[in-house]
């Protein structure tokens, strides 16, 4: 019996979401009176996972796994879970983890609950709280299978250092057929992604055209933030679909969400509601976003945002 956690990495570096998942797994393991085993694929410095609560790390190093493949990765994690006799497995909510999770659930015959936001409220019956109706509600969901699979919402539990240490072992699972092979990857280098960002700066139709996106990008750069947009903006082709946040786009669960020239349609607000602090800048004081935001400025984005950017730059320089 143990809690298994898949610790995702990118180019060998463990992701922040991986540390959060280990912290979460540790909280469950403590309640169950067991320990946490992490499985990492082609990741460096995995002994650091001990500091977040892992007792053991299974290191998988295999060049075949240099490119993510859902079926192969799911099979690796499945083999690790079976070896460890894991009764709970924890994954993040990254695109890759959400891709492999249902395959892993079938392999482990595990009941799978995604978008979980808290540690279990009860171990028997095993009950977790998840978001539903695109963040408009929470569902307290019971898992009735012997093995439970949890997809943890990013930024919901937080990273907790416990000061422990982990033993690291090599793990050499058999490699499954891939079925799907990657031809090319098109990914902006050095840009913060919406999924990993602590801060997201988002623009709406109030910015009048794609030529004005420098406002959003400059502010995002100062804050180390990812950029996003509203649905009309992606439908108009001003920005790519991958930046569209909301009910049919991406969910956003950041510490700070800054909305510029976005009125706040119900579908948009649902998609961003898991963000902790929301700031809106809009000329229209009646915009629905003001009802959902924590802080607001009624004003013209073209005047307010450049000043905000400059002042934040000075603030960052002072507090660096």
């Amino acid at each position: 019996m143990s809690v298994l956690v898949y610790t995702e990495s990118e180019n060998g570096k463990l992701k922040k979401a991986a540390l959060e998942c280990v912290s979460y797994a540790k909280a469950i393991a403590d309640e169950m009176g067991t320990s946490v085993t992490a499985v990492a694929i082609n990741a460096n410095d995995t002994d650091a996972l001990g500091n977040y609560g892992a007792s053991k790390v299974l290191n998988v190093n295999n060049d075949v796994l240099n490119t993510f493949n859902a079926k192969q990765y799911a099979s690796v994690i499945e083999q690790a879970a079976k070896q460890e006799g894991a009764t709970v497995a924890v994954l993040s909510s990254s695109a890759d983890s959400k891709y492999l999770a249902p395959l892993l659930a079938v392999g482990l015959e595990a009941g799978y609950v995604s978008n979980v936001v808290e540690k279990p409220s009860s171990l028997s019956p095993f009950t977790v709280k998840r978001t539903a109706f695109t963040n408009k509600a929470f569902a307290n969901t019971e898992i009735s299978t012997d093995v439970k699979l949890i997809g943890l919402s990013n930024n919901s539990f937080g990273v907790v250092e416990s000061g422990g240490s982990a033993s690291v072992e090599d793990f050499s699972p058999s490699i499954a057929d891939s079925g799907v092979s990657v031809e090319s990857v098109d990914k902006a280098v050095g840009k913060v992604t919406i999924a990993d960002a602590e801060v997201v700066v988002s623009g709406g139709r109030g910015l009048k055209g794609p030529e004005n996106w420098g406002l959003v990008e400059n502010l995002a750069e100062v804050l180390g933030a990812a950029t996003a947009c509203s649905k009309p903006v992606s439908d108009l082709g001003w920005r790519s679909h991958s930046e569209h946040v909301g009910q049919t786009g991406k969910p956003v669960a950041t510490n700070l969400y800054i909305a510029i020239g976005i009125s706040g349609a119900i579908q948009h607000l649902a998609g961003i509601s898991a963000s902790k602090v929301k700031v809106v800048i809009n000329t229209d004081p009646e915009a629905p976003f003001f009802k959902a935001a924590d802080y607001g400025i009624v004003g013209d984005a073209f005047e307010v945002v450049p000043v905000l950017t400059e002042k934040l730059k000075a603030f960052k320089a002072q507090n660096a």
Binding site: L103, F133, F138, G179, D186, A188, T193, K276, D294
Partner: protein, 248 residues
């Protein structure tokens, strides 16, 4: 090519979300139901395969008789026939298990499901369906071409996209990007009339077990009022974000 499009019957995106029976049931009072938006992008892409490559397109839903208007709408958009598995959609696993029987019995080459439903957002049915049937699987699919038994798909990843090669039989979890919003079709009168005559076959469930159950619901705590900052006093906003919200 035989295509099956999985259709989830979900509350319209503008629906107010409320619960009844001591917060254990979704309150359907006054709620309009629609084809799950992610499924509708997939259905529209399936229409393209039908018109350009001569594919046949069936649609399927796991649910009670109340979901039939949603299936009729899919028929009015252009699907050839519909299947309703006559059982409550208990959880993602049970739905995937019911669908896997439909897929195997029908010998489908391509199964198009949505990335996730916009009500329970489980995001597991297409992946589990692939796991249960052994078909290849592409999640968050934003582009799909099929040539013979070869398929080229585009998957949205965090911060970009990747192009993959795979083969039929294939299951995809589709979303916007498979087609554009402007490509979506509103059923016309002729489509609606024809849909009435198209087959809607009700099949009995295999009786799949569920693995999870949503026992109760909660709504997020009401939010406090917004703090307005004067447009001429940006320093105050920075101060609040730093000292009060502690996010910068």
């Amino acid at each position: 090519m035989k295509i099956l499009v999985c259709i989830s019957h979900v509350p319209d995106t503008t629906s107010k979300i409320n619960f009844t029976d001591g917060d254990t049931q979704f309150d359907t009072n006054g709620v309009q139901y629609v084809i799950n938006p992610n499924d509708e992008f997939g259905l529209t892409r399936a229409m393209w395969f039908k018109e350009k490559q001569g594919a046949s397109v069936d649609v399927v839903n796991v649910g009670g008789p109340e979901t039939e208007p949603t299936l009729r709408k899919a028929l009015a958009i252009g699907a050839d026939s519909a299947i309703r598995v006559n059982t409550e959609a208990k959880d993602g696993f049970a739905v995937a298990k019911e669908l896997s029987k439909v897929v195997t019995d029908g010998g489908y080459d391509l199964v198009i499901a949505g990335r996730e439903s916009i009500d329970y957002n489980g995001g597991m049915v297409p992946g589990m369906l692939s796991g249960l049937t052994g078909a290849n699987f592409v999640a968050n699919c934003i582009g799909l071409e099929v040539d013979g038994t070869n398929a080229k798909a585009v998957r949205e990843i965090d911060g970009g996209k990747e192009t993959v090669n795979t083969s039929l039989p294939l299951v995809i979890g589709g979303q916007k990007g498979l087609v554009e919003e402007s490509d979506l079709r509103i059923p016309n009168m002729r489509g609606i009339m024809m849909a009435r005559k198209k087959p809607l076959n009700v099949v009995e469930p295999v009786g799949a077990n569920s693995e999870t159950s949503a026992n109760s619901f909660e709504k997020p705590a009401p939010k406090g009022a917004v703090k307005l900052v004067d447009a001429d006093n940006i320093d105050e906003l920075i101060n609040l974000l730093h000292n009060e919200a502690k996010v910068i």
